[in-house]
């Protein structure tokens, strides 16, 4: 099964490797910056181009992977759908609900398969947490707290630091938690949120979000792009018969180099190696669907819901009022 990658910076490089491991073949790489497309394509013996729309129309392409900055997802999702290609779209599915709906409608009309990369559903630690909850280990859940983030990412052309493009830590990073929360605890009833947006510093965002789920459960989600370095994920779930906690800083592997390429001492980077990466698992899940074997863990509507939750959180932070989900 042949894949055309659109977007060859961070996520492009990342997904090329995992899709290949899952049995896909990278045949074409597109990026607005030619060098980037050429560099990635050369590693996989693929073609490189800056004309990304043309990639969607190639006869030898079965799947288009949309790995661009968020606001450009929909343009390529629609082009791929219209060319009859199946689609892997990195999260967030779109920057606006209109974009999401346009993408879904195009895929439905064309009858192609659309997968949104909410990879946290494939992380082994998160699946273990879900399994423990499902097994009743904490009893009836009443409260959940999640934490995710570290340094503000840079990205091509500094796009993460452009609020209108990325939507900050809420739209880009803790959208992972929003999707996972809904996956495990059902739909939210309303949200209240605070964030730093561009209040103090463009390179710093910090989001503090409270969801009231339809079940009554309260969920507190913290997202940070305010740390000078590192990346940390924490989860706490409290119920009437117990609680559970996860903290990525308690990792089995950590390294600290005396000197790094930048000349600066390296920070401690905790690692948690697994045989099969969650990113590879999501490509396997997508492939099984393409092969006619079962449904994937993430549906296109899940991708839309996560964007809805992020947009509602951003709206609440802007207005100072809770936002209800109808």
């Amino acid at each position: 099964m042949n894949v055309a990658l659109i977007g060859c910076s961070g996520m492009g490089v990342h997904h090329a490797g995992h899709a290949t491991k899952a049995g896909f073949k990278i045949v074409a790489c597109g990026d607005a910056i030619k060098e980037r497309a050429v560099e990635l394509a050369s590693q996989y013996g693929a073609d490189a181009t800056t004309d990304c729309l043309s990639l969607c129309k190639r006869d030898d392409v079965d799947v288009v992977a949309v790995l661009t900055p968020t606001p450009f997802h929909t343009e390529y999702v629609v082009a791929a759908a219209e060319a009859g290609k199946n689609i892997f779209c990195e999260k967030p599915f779109g920057r606006t609900l209109e974009q999401c709906n346009t993408g879904i409608a195009a895929a439905e009309k064309a009858g192609v398969k659309l997968f949104v990369g909410h990879v946290v559903r494939y992380f082994q630690e998160f699946e273990t947490i879900k399994a423990q909850i499902d097994a009743g280990k904490v009893g009836k859940v009443g409260f959940v707290r999640t934490y995710r983030g570290g340094i503000c990412p840079v990205g091509a052309g500094n796009w993460f630091r452009d609020w209108d493009m990325s939507g900050g830590v809420t739209m880009d990073t803790i959208i992972h938690d929003f999707d996972w929360i809904r996956y495990v605890f059902g739909d939210p009833a309303q949200v209240f949120s605070q964030n730093l947006r561009e209040q103090f510093d463009k390179a710093i965002d910090y989001a503090m979000v409270t969801f009231r789920m339809k079940s009554g459960i309260i969920v507190n989600t913290i997202g940070t792009w305010a740390h000078p370095g590192g990346f940390r994920v924490k989860v706490e779930v409290c119920g009437d018969n117990g609680m559970l906690q996860f903290d990525s800083s308690e990792a089995p592997l950590s390294v600290m180099m005396r000197e790094t390429a930048s000349g600066m001492p390296g920070m401690i980077v905790p690692g948690s190696p697994v045989g099969v990466s969650p990113y590879e698992l999501e490509w396997h899940d997508f492939k099984n669907w393409l092969d006619g074997k079962g449904r994937p863990r993430v549906t296109p509507q899940d991708g839309v819901w996560a964007v809805r939750m992020a947009l509602a959180a951003l709206e609440s932070a802007d207005t100072g009022k809770p936002v209800a989900f109808n």
Binding site: L196, M208, M243, K321
Partner: protein, 326 residues
């Protein structure tokens, strides 16, 4: 040496304050009064101090000051009686369950010329003191945001009876962190949002989880969890944590994370045994000095009132569903 009395052992902190008085050279546990005579007598035996069944006789016995550890709603009547008897007062938190009560307590102490303090021992917890000192150095620059928790185990008894406590976990576990925020940042809370409910132990009759959001002067944004969400099997009573996001860095303080992890086969439950300094000694030592020097305690009734205002606003918000001004 300050002759101190304790009024009521309803709140468990009375026991640690009594032990602190006995440990300090500058204070003497002169007498104990309790409206529950059996409880008072048992405490008197435990701490080797005389029990007095009559409140007026207790207040006329030659005391310099009293520490009041009754159920929350009884604070006001005891403060009024002690103030009219000319005694210096240290009152357990929350100072009161309504703004009216807290203000009346401040007024009566002012009128009778006695000092009134609120028992916020967190200001004497060494890691929190070190955090404040570091922030005060100025090296962090402007404070942007904070994400805090004051989680706890379910205390049971009168704590869950709103007629005596005035409220649940939100009442019990908001004021410590509000006081720390005011103390560390030198700014007031201006707006409060709160989602809370009885979500962990069904049917206790009051809220056991609250997710709060504050706005403070200077545009500082704060998330705070006030809870009784710790399970019986959790290795410690709870926590006070703060992640403070500032211009030049991030400060994390986990106030009681000075512990030894103990795994005992008889208990069959992991236990975190604390080894940090006893904060009650600092609190009680200041109160003894305030009695001797005829000055206000370092943490005043006004500080107690400001924390009560935020808690009252939190319940107002939980009821109205809106962010409310303090």
């Amino acid at each position: 040496m300050a002759k101190l009395g304790i009024m009521s052992f309803a709140h468990m902190h009375a026991y640690s304050y009594a032990a602190a008085i006995n440990e300090l050279a500058e204070a003497e546990l002169f007498a104990i009064w309790d409206d529950d005579a059996a409880r008072g007598k048992a405490a008197a035996d435990q701490f080797k101090a005389p029990f007095m069944a009559n409140r007026d006789a207790f207040l006329a016995s030659g005391l310099d000051g009293v520490i009041i550890c009754s159920e929350n709603v009884k604070h006001r009547a005891m403060v009024e009686a002690a103030a009219k008897a000319g005694k210096w007062i240290l009152c357990e938190k929350p100072l009161a369950t309504t703004i009216e009560d807290a203000q009346a307590m401040i007024d009566v102490c002012k009128k009778t010329g006695v000092g009134l303090g609120t028992a916020f021992p967190c200001r004497y917890v060494a890691p929190l003191m070190a955090a404040k000192e570091d922030l005060d150095s100025g090296r962090f620059g402007t404070i942007y945001a904070a994400a805090c928790t004051n989680n706890g185990s379910f205390p049971g008894g009168w704590f869950a009876d709103e007629k005596l406590s005035g409220g649940g976990a939100t009442m019990d576990h908001t004021v410590h962190v509000v006081d720390l925020l005011r103390w560390m940042f030198g700014k007031e809370v201006t707006k409060v949002y709160c989602e809370n409910g009885n979500l962990i132990r069904e049917g206790i009759g009051t809220d056991d989880v609250g997710s709060l959001h504050f706005e403070m002067e200077g545009g500082i944004k704060v998330s705070h969890i006030a809870s009784w969400n710790r399970s019986k099997s959790f290795p410690t009573w709870g926590d006070v944590t703060m992640e403070i996001i500032a211009e030049n860095g991030v400060l994390n303080v986990d106030a009681f994370n000075q512990k030894v992890n103990v795994y005992n086969d008889t208990a069959m439950k992991a236990e975190w045994v604390p080894w940090g300094d006893n904060a009650d000694l600092g609190l009680v030592s200041d109160f003894a000095a305030a009695c001797d020097e005829k000055r206000d305690p370092a943490i005043t009734g006004y500080d107690g009132l400001k924390a009560v205002e935020v808690t009252v606003a939190a319940y107002k918000s939980a009821k109205s569903g809106e962010m409310v001004s303090v």
